[in-house]
């Protein structure tokens, strides 16, 4: 562009552009925030609030003076739920746009597609979903909840309340498979029994056979970790067949807001543990929801992923300002102190130095017959302790691995 401007007219134009540049603290070069979120395709439903959460955070942070006196500039690309596009766009953001920080990804498959690409750079990557846990990677900071926060709370509660026999309906990819593994481990520790496990290919929408398999196995409750709009049809079809079983999940209600999308009572008796759900009514949460709804009045539901996306940028601001730098190594030094925290709408939450995952205030929520939400238990703040316990310590070494209960680090 510049080399095309020649002669006196060009010089004049350049001077004019220079004169128009804003002055003051925000005159500094913007910090580039690369964002990969699905806002079309099958996951648009849950991805759109993530974009909105990021936009809200950027607006608020820029109003509050930016990060280290520099404004944030959001560069959002829509990978449309396609993992190949995730990789292509991640490369583009990292190599061409040279973003200072990369945020995003919905499914665990998309995260694992992007992670090796980020690992070849010195760019911090924030993954903002709750997920199946276990990623020990110095480039990645995980902002969502993990199994020790979600399953170690929910599953004992379900067993105590409903009984020891569970049937698992899970999406057939890494998230569903590893979550089911967590369930197996926890049920074994509790003396429970997994009476059936079904892994469903993404995109399947018909569940008559599954419903019958469940009835045949006679479980006390269901663990529903089915993913995507098509698989969510299970709830409507199970309700129509009068399956009437209690259900537990790590992704229903707060993430997919099924209780807002399906006609009652399809989601009746669903239970989940969450660090955020829109029905949370603390003063901080109410103020946050008010700001969100002022900017996005038509949002169906402010889901936990959108909330986490919002928190991630404030966490980034705190990290960068404590480190007085945007460099990954400097940010990691701050995280290593255990003092990297953020005052989020759920309360004060901090980064665990060993795993770079967040502590969270966890609550158990239940859906009633009219799809009303009640909070049945408040667990307080729970640390993401599992990775540290099994030997991941990012302050000492960078494993770049994902561990599961049956795939632990080599001693």
């Amino acid at each position: 562009m510049l080399n095309r401007i020649r002669g006196p007219l060009g010089a004049l134009a350049l001077a004019a552009v220079a004169a128009m540049a804003p002055s003051g603290a925000m005159a500094a070069d913007p910090i580039k925030v690369g964002l990969l979120e699905d806002i079309s395709g099958d996951l648009a439903l849950i991805g759109l609030p993530k974009l909105h959460g990021s936009e809200l955070a950027v607006e608020e942070i820029n109003k509050a003076g930016g990060v280290l006196g520099r404004p944030l500039e959001l560069i959002h690309l829509d990978p449309q739920g396609d993992n190949a596009r995730y990789q292509e766009f991640a490369r583009r953001l990292l190599n061409r746009d040279k973003v200072d920080v990369l945020i995003g990804g919905i499914t665990s498959a998309s995260r694992e597609a992007v992670r090796p690409i980020v690992d070849r750079t010195k760019t911090p990557y924030f993954y903002t979903n709750q997920y199946e846990g276990g990623v020990c990677d110095a480039n990645m900071i995980s902002v969502g909840a993990v199994p020790e926060q979600q399953f170690s709370t929910l599953i004992p509660w379900m067993v105590e309340k409903f009984g020891k026999k569970v049937y698992v309906i899970a999406a057939d990819y890494n998230f569903g498979q590893i979550s089911a593994e967590w369930n197996r481990k926890l049920m074994k520790d509790l003396g429970g029994e997994v009476v059936g496990e079904e892994f469903i290919p993404l995109g399947v929408s018909q569940f008559a056979q599954t419903i019958q398999n469940v009835q045949k196995a006679k479980p006390d409750w269901l663990l529903t970790i089915n993913v995507g709009a098509a698989q969510d049809s299970f709830f409507e079809q199970a309700a129509a067949a009068k399956l009437n079983l209690p259900m537990g999940s790590s992704i229903k209600i707060m993430l997919g807001f099924e209780h807002k999308r399906f006609a009652p009572p399809a989601l009746n008796n669903m239970h989940a543990t969450a660090n955020w759900f829109e029905e949370l009514d603390t003063p901080e949460a109410d103020a946050f929801k008010k700001r969100w709804r002022a900017k996005f009045p038509n949002e169906t539901y402010i889901n936990d992923m959108g909330y986490n996306a919002y928190v991630a940028l404030w966490l980034y601001k705190n990290l960068a300002e404590q480190a007085k730098s945007l460099k990954l190594d400097d940010l990691r030094k701050v995280m290593a102190t255990g003092q990297a925290c953020v005052d989020a709408p759920e309360g004060k939450i901090c980064v665990d130095p060993k795993s770079q995952h967040m502590s969270h205030r966890m609550r158990l929520v239940s859906v009633g017959p009219k799809h009303e939400i009640t909070v049945d238990k408040d667990y307080g703040v729970i640390q993401p302790y599992w990775l540290g316990e099994i030997g991941c310590d990012l302050t000492k070494k960078n494993d770049k691995e994902q561990y599961t209960p049956t795939s632990l680090p080599k001693k």
């Binding site: 759109l48 290919p201 995109g203 018909q206 008559a208 056979q209 129509a240 067949a241 009068k242």
Partner: protein, 288 residues
């Protein structure tokens, strides 16, 4: 024992209904007219959205479903006149044009109506057989699938329109020479196909998540059913539905949904390898 037998029948009926209802519209548009309609799923989605919109507006479900079927049919006629008509001699271009239409519709709807609309709930009604409870509505779907097959047969074999339509599909120039208004027949046939797709969406709307891309869940099943059925949809579609439903139901029941899906597609590959003209090709050969 009876419970197990009934449950097997119910599962078969459920898969069969899904295959036949999703394929019926495409059987006419692709099977008879030879238009590779990549927007087939969007006609299904259209039926579902119109049904749900009308039910939210207070219209009773069966009436809403009827209106949705008609709406999809009318849109089908418009699409035929505006787009498909110009491309009958260029089948690959129809593929591209209808695919483009499909992208425009799903993305346009996402922008206009948002990423999902609230569901309406399946009509009440369930019954118990032995240890199992079943949704009555799923049997209604099965009945509708049989009804659709019967209706297609009657329309194309027993009506004047059917004779003209079959004549036009076989040899348009000859039909025109004999006084058939070929353009009108094409538009009506395409509209009928779109209406049947809309009916499928209308019938499944209460049981599913409503998102702009919901039609995609039906597309694979509809295409494989039509391909296995072969060119003569009046002969082929029903046996194709029975065959694929049996394969899928047995695998689903014994090995789970993953194997069920893989198995059905493997069966399709084998069938079109052995019978390139589909089941109807085999039946026609036998008949000669």
């Amino acid at each position: 024992m009876f419970a197990e037998l009934f449950s097997t029948f119910y599962q078969f009926a459920d898969v069969f209904a899904f295959l036949i209802l999703s394929a019926a519209g495409l059987a006419i548009v692709f099977g008879m007219m030879g238009v590779i309609n990549m927007a087939h799923g969007e006609f299904i989605m259209c039926g579902a959205y119109v049904t749900v919109g009308l039910v939210h507006a207070g219209v009773p479900l069966p009436l809403a479903q009827a209106c949705a079927t008609i709406a999809a049919g009318l849109i089908g006629v418009v699409v035929e006149v505006l787009i498909v008509r110009k491309l009958y001699k260029r089948p690959l271009d129809t593929l591209l044009a209808t695919w483009g239409l499909s992208l425009i519709v799903t993305q346009g709807l996402l922008i206009l109506l948002g990423s999902s609309i609230p569901g309406i709930g399946t009509p009440e009604g369930s019954f118990t057989v032995g240890p199992y409870t079943f949704s009555t509505y799923r049997l209604v779907l099965f009945a509708c699938a049989i009804g659709v097959l019967a209706a297609i047969y009657v329309i194309f074999m027993r009506t004047r329109f059917g004779v003209m339509a079959r004549a036009t599909m076989q040899n348009a120039a000859m039909a025109q020479a004999l006084g058939v208004k070929v353009g009108g027949v094409y538009a009506a046939s395409f509209g009928l196909g779109a209406a049947l797709a809309g009916l499928c969406g209308a019938l499944y709307a209460p049981t599913m998540t409503l998102i702009p891309t919901m039609g995609a869940t039906f597309v694979v099943e509809s295409f494989v059913t039509v391909v296995v059925g072969g060119a003569n949809v009046l002969l082929g579609t029903a046996p194709a539905g029975v065959l694929l439903a049996t394969v899928r139901m047995l695998l689903n029941a014994n090995y789970g949904q993953i194997i069920g899906q893989i198995g059905m597609l493997v069966a399709v590959i084998l069938i079109i390898r052995v019978l390139p003209e589909g089941i109807s090709g085999l039946l026609v050969r036998r008949g000669r």
